[in-house]
C-alpha cells in the first residue's frame, strides 16, 4: 500500500497557538504523510462547515517524523484562517497533501542565502533543517528574515546558520526591508553566494529578482496564487514564466508581457517553487 497525497485525510490538531498577534503555530497529526514531504511543499487545509469550500494552501514549516506531525505557521487574514485559528487540540481537520514540488535540495551546497519574508518564512525552516541534515559542514546558511513588526521563528533558524533580521517598523534588527538590509550590510558577502532560496510577499520577491540579476545570483522562489484545487485540475493558479531569460525579456512585467513572451505554469503543481529568474511579476 503506498501513500497517496490526493486522499483527503482526517487529522487531529495537536496544538494551535497564537505565537505573535494574528500568527498561529499549528501542529497536525498527519500520520503516514510525514514520510513523503519535501521542504517547500504545502498542504491543503479545509475549513469545516461547507460555506468555505476552497482549500487553504499552507506551507509545511516542519516535519516531525517520529510524532507523525507537521507544523504550519499561518496568518489570520480572512474568514478561513480565522476559523482555522479557533481549532483546538484534538479537533479534527481535513488535510490533503503533500502538494506541489518543493525546493531543489541538490542545489543547496556551498554558501547558501535564504531570504524569507513574513509568513513566507515557515517553509524555509524545514528547508534549512534538511540542508543541514544532508550537507552538514558542506553548507553554510546565511538567513535573512524580514517582518513587518513582530518576529517569529527566528531563534529556530539560528540552529542552522547566521540569521539577520529586518523589520519595517525597526522594532527589531535592521529597520527596512530585506533587500535594503542585504545591500547595506551583507554586500561584501554577496559574491560568495552559490545559491538562493526565498519565499515571501510578491513585492519582496520582485525586488529580489532584480537584485539577483544585478548580482548574478541563481536560486529559486516559492510563490503564491489563488487556488481552486491545489493539485493541478482547475488551471486556476497559474503564473507567467518567461519563455527565455535574456536581457530583453528580463524587464517584462505581467502588464507588459505579450503572448509569445511567456507560458503559464501552475503554482500548485509545477511549483510553488520556481527558478528565480523565470518568473514574471
Amino acid at each position: 500500500m503506498c501513500y497517496n497525497p490526493l486522499n483527503k485525510v482526517k487529522c487531529r490538531v495537536v496544538h494551535n497557538n497564537e505565537i505573535v498577534p494574528n500568527i498561529y503555530d499549528m501542529s497536525i497529526d498527519v500520520g503516514e504523510m510525514v514520510k513523503h514531504i519535501n521542504p517547500g511543499q504545502f498542504v491543503n487545509l479545509y475549513v469545516k462547515g461547507g460555506i468555505h469550500l476552497l482549500p487553504r494552501p499552507i506551507s509545511i514549516c516542519e516535519v516531525n517524523k517520529k510524532e507523525k506531525t507537521i507544523r504550519v505557521i499561518y496568518a489570520v487574514v480572512g474568514e478561513g484562517t480565522k476559523i482555522l485559528s479557533s481549532r483546538q487540540k484534538r479537533d479534527s481537520i481535513e488535510v490533503l497533501g503533500p502538494l506541489g514540488k518543493g525546493f531543489e535540495i541538490s542545489k543547496g551546497k556551498g554558501n547558501i542565502l535564504i531570504v524569507g519574508g513574513g509568513v513566507g518564512t515557515p517553509p524555509l525552516l524545514e528547508l534549512a533543517k534538511i540542508l543541514k541534515e544532508i550537507y552538514g559542514e558542506k553548507v553554510k546558511l546565511t538567513i535573512v528574515l524580514g517582518f513587518k513588526n513582530d518576529i517569529f521563528l527566528v531563534d529556530e533558524f539560528k540552529n542552522y546558520g547566521d540569521v539577520y533580521i529586518a523589520t519595517d517598523s525597526g522594532r527589531q534588527g535592521y529597520k527596512g526591508n530585506v533587500i535594503e538590509m542585504i545591500e547595506d550590510k551583507l554586500l561584501p558577502y554577496i559574491d560568495t553566494i552559490d545559491y538562493l532560496y526565498s519565499c515571501g510577499p510578491t513585492p519582496m520577491l520582485k525586488g529580489l529578482q532584480k537584485f539577483n540579476i544585478k548580482h548574478s545570483i541563481k536560486g529559486e522562489f516559492s510563490l503564491e496564487e489563488r487556488m481552486g484545487c491545489g493539485f493541478g485540475a482547475c488551471v486556476g493558479c497559474v503564473i507567467p514564466i518567461r519563455n527565455s531569460v535574456n536581457k530583453d525579456s528580463i524587464n517584462l512585467t505581467k502588464e507588459t508581457m505579450k503572448d509569445n513572451d511567456y507560458i503559464y505554469k501552475k503554482v500548485c503543481k509545477d511549483g510553488p517553487v520556481f527558478d528565480c529568474l523565470e518568473v514574471i511579476f
Binding site: L6, L53, L54, C234, C237
Partner: protein, 300 residues
C-alpha cells in the same frame, strides 16, 4: 443492479461523468481513483489553437461556491489528440471532448480534427464569447446556438452534445434551437455569471472581474433547467451543476437527466466521483431500485 446507461447510442457503464474543466483529461486523478470506474471523462475545453486563458486571480471563493475565470486555457486540439487521447484510452471509460471556440470556424476546426480521432462523443461548449458578435456568448442567442450546432454537426463523426449556458431568459428556447441544429443531446448547466469585490482592496477579486459561479449552491437553478428542458425535447440530458453526492445525482436524474457530470466537487475532493457513485448505489439499494434508468424524469 443496473447502473449502465445508453446515451445518444453510446453505452456507458454508469451515469457518472466528469464535468469539463474540473478534471482536465484525468491525469491528475488517475493515481487516486480508478478511471475505469467512471462512466465518461468529459475533458477540459479544447480549442483549435492553444489558448492562454485569462489573467490572474482566476479563482474566488463565494458563499458555498466558487467563481472561476480560467478563460479556457488549453494547449489546443493537436496536443490533445497527441497526448490525452492515448492516455485516456488506457482506461475502460468513454471520452467526451468539450469543444470551445471564438468563431463558428474555430469550433468546426476542432470537430474536424476529431472526426478521425478515437473519441466517443463531442460536447459543444457554447458559453464562449462569439468574437464576431461583439463577445456575446453563442449560447445566449437561439440563432447563434442553432448555427454553431448545425455547422459542427455537419463535420462531426461522433454524437454531438451541446452544453447550454444558464445565463438566459428562456432555456427551453435555446434547447429547441440546438435540437433544430441537430444536437444529439444536451448538457445543462454551465456556470452562472457572478462577481465578487474585495471591499478592503476596493477591487474585484478576479482579474477578469466577472467569472463563472459553480458548486452546490447552483444546484436549484440547474435542477429547474433540466426539468424545464425535459418538458420541451426528447433529447437526452446530461445534468451538471453542484453535484456533490449520490443524492444530488439522483435528484438530477429524477428531474430528467439520463447521466450526470461532477464538476466543482472534483476540485474539492479528488475522489468526488467515487463518492457520488457510491451514493447512487446506496440509494438504489435502499429503495430496491434495480435499474437506474427507471428514475430518469419521473417528476411530472
Amino acid at each position: 443492479m443496473n447502473l449502465g446507461v445508453e446515451f445518444c447510442g453510446v453505452q456507458f457503464k454508469n451515469p457518472v461523468f466528469t464535468a469539463s474543466g474540473t478534471f482536465n483529461s484525468g491525469r491528475e486523478f488517475a493515481d487516486v481513483i480508478d478511471l475505469n470506474q467512471i462512466g465518461a471523462v468529459i475533458v477540459k475545453g479544447v480549442s483549435n489553437k492553444p489558448w492562454k486563458g485569462n489573467v490572474t486571480p482566476r479563482i474566488a471563493e463565494t458563499y458555498g461556491g466558487m467563481l472561476n475565470a480560467v478563460g479556457l486555457q488549453n494547449p489546443g486540439i493537436d496536443v490533445f489528440i497527441r497526448e490525452d487521447i492515448p492516455f485516456l484510452r488506457q482506461y475502460d471509460t468513454k471520452i467526451i471532448v468539450n469543444i470551445v471556440g471564438r468563431t463558428v470556424d474555430e469550433y468546426v476546426e476542432v470537430a474536424l480534427k476529431l472526426a478521425n480521432a478515437d473519441v466517443d462523443m463531442l460536447e459543444l461548449n457554447i458559453s464562449c464569447p462569439n468574437i464576431k458578435e461583439g463577445g456575446v456568448a453563442f449560447g445566449v442567442d437561439p440563432n447563434m446556438a442553432e448555427l454553431v450546432t448545425r455547422e459542427v454537426k455537419k463535420v462531426a463523426k461522433q454524437p454531438l452534445i451541446v452544453k447550454l449556458s444558464p445565463n438566459v431568459t428562456d432555456i427551453t428556447k435555446i434547447a429547441k434551437a440546438v435540437e433544430r441544429g441537430g444536437a444529439d443531446g444536451i448538457s445543462l448547466i454551465n456556470t452562472l455569471i457572478g462577481m465578487k469585490i474585495d471591499i478592503h482592496k476596493r477591487k474585484t477579486v478576479l482579474g477578469r472581474k466577472t467569472g463563472g459561479l459553480s458548486g452546490p449552491i447552483i444546484k436549484p437553478v440547474a435542477i429547474r433547467m433540466v426539468y424545464q428542458v425535459r418538458q420541451v425535447t426528447k433529447l437526452p440530458i446530461i445534468g451538471v451543476g453542484g453535484i456533490m453526492t449520490g443524492e444530488d445525482a439522483i435528484e438530477f436524474m429524477m428531474a430528467g437527466a439520463s447521466a450526470i457530470s461532477v464538476g466543482t466537487a472534483n476540485l474539492l475532493n479528488p475522489r468526488a466521483t467515487m463518492k457520488v457513485l457510491d451514493g447512487i448505489e446506496n440509494y438504489m439499494k435502499t429503495y430496491n431500485l434495480l435499474d437506474i434508468n427507471k428514475i430518469v424524469g419521473i417528476i411530472e
